[in-house]
């Protein structure tokens, strides 16, 4: 591990991680889906110095039934946020259980273009059977089939991002050619359930490949840049990290911090009257900021980053901004991303070579050697 020990990501969907978070939000429900609110949360996260924001999504409405909450699509929110921020990384959650991988690839490549290389992709699954009814598609039933759709979807998206070499647009006035078609490639993907021809419509994204994040096991480690690992305690996080086999590992941590008005425990108890904060097997910190700082310090020995899931954004984000990130920054445990830097660079990941260009170069080298 080099550089600052820890990268901090924060999940900013809706009003927070608790299904009833909206009840403690600093605004009325009808303000949640406004551009002002979307831009403001992102600005707070960027100003606080987070490396990355993630935006949860899915075709089904979030929130505890029968009181669902509205949600704007994560890619649209991410693109909007990209245009109103300048340094923070932005990773929408996009399931490919039912979606068209060609569209998903185009949307994410476009997000990388509009954010000048600050985009990531959190791969997740549409697990509930109702999602199939919403999409009007045959049910992708079990965990294995869902993992297959994620694996194939990521493989297609990644191949499409490489299907334009970086310099495919040549604008050669002498030959009247805008493109060099030798630098465009059919991907000819054939999986178990579908095939995709390619090439992409969108030129190769600025980062070459977006930063791909997922829970280990759902997408092959070789296709992941960042594994999002879970575990109720440090030992299980450390074990999951050791097993991940990905370039970077982030631990998932749920937080309910003490605020000037109420302790974390009181706030959780208040919301539990309405809906349970389901245990997903993640580290959970409920209490004062200094204990979270200590926990993050501990974690920095095992992982490259932490993704925080605040109980209520309006309450916890402000404690994180005022107390937690400044303290970590003072101890040089975290560093804020620099303007003009891609998410990949911030995470210390190299810009990948284009697989097709690399293949062509290998053939050329072989011919030269003869």
């Amino acid at each position: 591990m080099t550089g600052p020990a820890l990268h901090l990501a924060v999940e900013i969907d809706g009003d927070g991680a608790h299904p009833a978070a909206w009840r403690r939000a600093a605004h009325s429900p009808d303000q949640l889906l406004t551009p002002r609110r979307v831009a403001r949360v992102a600005a707070v996260a960027e100003n606080a110095g987070f490396t990355l924001i993630t935006l949860d999504d899915g075709v089904l409405p979030p929130g505890a039934s029968p009181d669902p909450v509205g949600r704007i699509g994560a890619v649209e929110r991410a693109a909007f946020v990209a245009a109103s921020t300048s340094t923070i990384g932005i990773a929408p959650i996009v399931p490919v259980t039912y979606a068209e991988p060609f569209h998903v690839s185009s949307q994410l490549a476009s997000l990388d273009h509009v954010s000048a290389g600050r985009a990531g992709w959190v791969v997740a699954e549409e697990e509930r059977p109702e999602a199939a009814r919403a999409w009007g598609r045959p049910l992708v039933a079990d965990a294995e089939a869902q993992a297959r759709e994620s694996r194939d979807g990521v493989e297609v998206a990644r191949a499409l991002w490489d299907s334009w070499e970086d310099d495919a647009v040549i604008r050669s006035v002498a030959t009247s050619r805008y493109l060099d078609r030798e630098r465009l490639h059919y991907i000819d993907f054939t999986g178990e359930t579908y095939a995709v021809k390619g090439p992409a419509i969108v030129p190769r994204p600025p980062q070459g490949q977006l930063v791909v994040l997922a829970r280990p096991g759902r997408v092959p480690a070789a296709q992941l840049d960042v594994a999002l690992v879970e575990g109720r305690d440090l030992a299980s996080v450390a074990a999951a990290t050791a097993a991940a086999g990905t370039p970077r590992v982030f631990a998932e941590v749920e937080v309910a911090l003490d605020t000037p008005d109420a302790t974390g425990a009181e706030r959780v108890a208040d919301l539990e009257r309405h809906a349970p904060w389901t245990d997903q097997g993640r580290l959970r910190h409920i209490g004062p900021a200094d204990r979270l700082i200590a926990l993050l310090h501990e974690l920095s020995r095992h992982v490259d980053g932490v993704r925080l899931h605040p109980l209520v954004l309006d309450e916890d984000l402000s404690v994180l901004s005022r107390l937690v990130l400044p303290a970590l920054s003072e101890r040089r445990l975290v560093a804020r991303p620099l303007p003009g830097t891609s998410l990949r660079s911030t995470l210390g990941l190299e810009r990948p070579a284009n697989r097709f260009a690399a293949a062509a170069a290998a053939v050329a080298a072989q011919e030269d050697a003869r």
Partner: protein
């Protein structure tokens, strides 16, 4: 032509609306000029959208690509290609524009209603009521090779699917009643109980059951645009659309005939005949004098139709690879080969190449044109060429006689191609009283002067009638 309000015209107070189309693929974008910028850099999109907004345009349009064009199984390399996903790019533009409409061309064949309707709603909310959807269809298996469904859909089914798609999308957009989201921080429920409605739809194309996730925007629904010119496409527009694009905006009589046809179709489906805005696509070439404008046009045409492009266009017509011929020489002597169109070069279908080639030969011989000159002279004659003042007079005539409601401008240069339209033509239009001097509303629907979404109106009309 007089500059005072002529009252002896059918529509003395008609207003001209402008949209701008950020071109994706086709040879009309002059990419070889020194001041031609990037087609993918977000700064290019921002510049065009913000210039259009400065010029009080109604809308900014993005097209959609689902597969790179090919000629004879090889990727077409002469024209601009490579573009962002429309809805993603437009969502970014929502953050850096205030009033201009943001319209996405999205395909109803290779999308699903739950997904696309939600994405459009998201753009509509993020832009506070400025989203539009240009509904397009595809019927070729060639495009399908990039999608789960693969080769797909009969020609006849594409509008059926589009219409059923719209029915589901509108049901989703109407799934939340107005004011469905609680407006007080202490509310007992996030939404007003009973104000959210599931959508259960079972039809020939879609079988879905889902809960809509978004409220209506300030304009109700995204504005619906339609571009097909066939009888089927026009009927579809008359039943469903708020705005129709057309290729009938160059010649006044042709434009008027198209507009009359659309109005007839509107009346036939029980809509007021001013219910659909007609915005033909056009190119506008401006010069300080008529001669200068004509000279500029000639320069632009030769930039657009390079020798290689001329041979490519002629090759499509002849059905023969002509890339090794001399574009500045005579027309090919061979007869055209009539080939099946597989859709790989867009929707262009040439009904009878032999007749067209015979016409080309006759005209080329009469005028002494080379192949390239013939392609330029006999290609689609789009656009208006002239001085700001002359063009303003002409457009006033078009709009006051009900031939168009405005134009969807395709600049030949990105990102600066709108500048002279905004700086020179718009003031002349304003002086003639046919162009707004400030935005008339905050939503796209308001700026286009449209009534409410069709579904709402129907409900209200029904209540009033009942």
């Amino acid at each position: 032509m007089t500059r005072t309000d002529p009252l002896d015209v059918p529509r003395p107070h008609a207003q001209l609306h402008f949209g701008v189309f950020f071109q994706g693929v086709n040879h009309w974008t002059v990419w070889s000029a020194p001041d031609s910028g990037s087609q993918i850099d977000p700064a290019s999109f921002r510049k065009v959208a913000q210039t259009a907004e400065r010029g009080l345009f109604d809308a900014f349009f993005l097209g959609e690509g689902l597969r790179l064009r090919e000629v004879d199984g090889r990727i077409h390399d002469l024209d601009v290609a490579g573009r962002p996903d429309a809805l993603t790019q437009l969502s970014a533009l929502a953050a850096v524009t205030r009033r201009i409409g943001l319209v996405s061309t999205s395909n109803s064949t290779f999308n699903e209603p739950a997904d696309l309707a939600r994405r459009l709603s998201g753009l509509d909310l993020l832009s506070e009521g400025r989203a539009g959807w240009n509904v397009v269809t595809t019927d070729n298996a060639w495009t399908g090779a990039n999608f789960r469904r693969g080769g797909y859909l009969d020609h006849a089914d594409r509008y059926r699917r589009a219409e059923e798609f719209l029915t589901v999308a509108r049901a989703l957009w109407d799934g939340w009643e107005d004011g469905a989201t609680a407006d007080s921080a202490g509310a007992r429920h996030w939404s007003v109980p009973g104000a959210l409605h599931r959508v259960r739809h079972r039809g020939p194309q879609f079988d879905v059951d889902l809960a809509p996730t978004l409220p209506r925007s300030a304009q109700g629904h995204p504005v619906i645009f339609q571009a097909g010119d066939s009888g089927e496409g026009r009927d579809f527009a008359a039943r469903n659309a708020d705005v129709i694009f057309s290729a009938h905006g160059n010649d006044f009589d042709d434009a008027l005939a198209f507009a009359e046809d659309i109005r007839t179709r509107l009346r036939a489906v029980g809509r007021p005949d001013d219910d659909l805005r007609i915005l033909p696509g056009t190119e506008i070439i401006i010069g300080a004098t008529e001669e200068e404008a004509q000279e500029k046009k000639r320069w632009i045409r030769f930039q657009q139709v390079t020798p290689a492009t001329a041979l490519g266009i002629a090759g499509l017509l002849w059905g023969i690879d002509l890339s090794d011929r001399d574009a500045d020489g005579p027309l090919p002597e061979e007869d055209p080969v009539v080939a099946e169109n597989d859709g790989s070069f867009g929707a262009r279908r040439i009904a009878d190449p032999r007749t067209v080639v015979a016409e080309w030969r006759a005209k080329a011989e009469t005028h002494g044109w080379s192949l390239r000159e013939t392609v330029i002279a006999l290609g689609p004659q789009r656009g208006h060429v002239g001085t700001p003042s002359g063009l303003a007079d002409k457009f006033a005539h078009f709009v006051r006689h009900g031939a168009v409601d405005g134009f969807n401008v395709t600049p030949f240069l990105v990102p600066d191609g709108l500048d002279d339209i905004v700086d020179l033509l718009v003031p002349e239009l304003q002086e003639r009283g046919i162009y707004r001097t400030e935005y008339t509303g905050t939503t796209l629907r308001e700026n286009l002067g449209l009534r409410g979404p069709l579904t709402h109106r129907t409900a209200r009309d029904r209540r009033q009638a009942g």
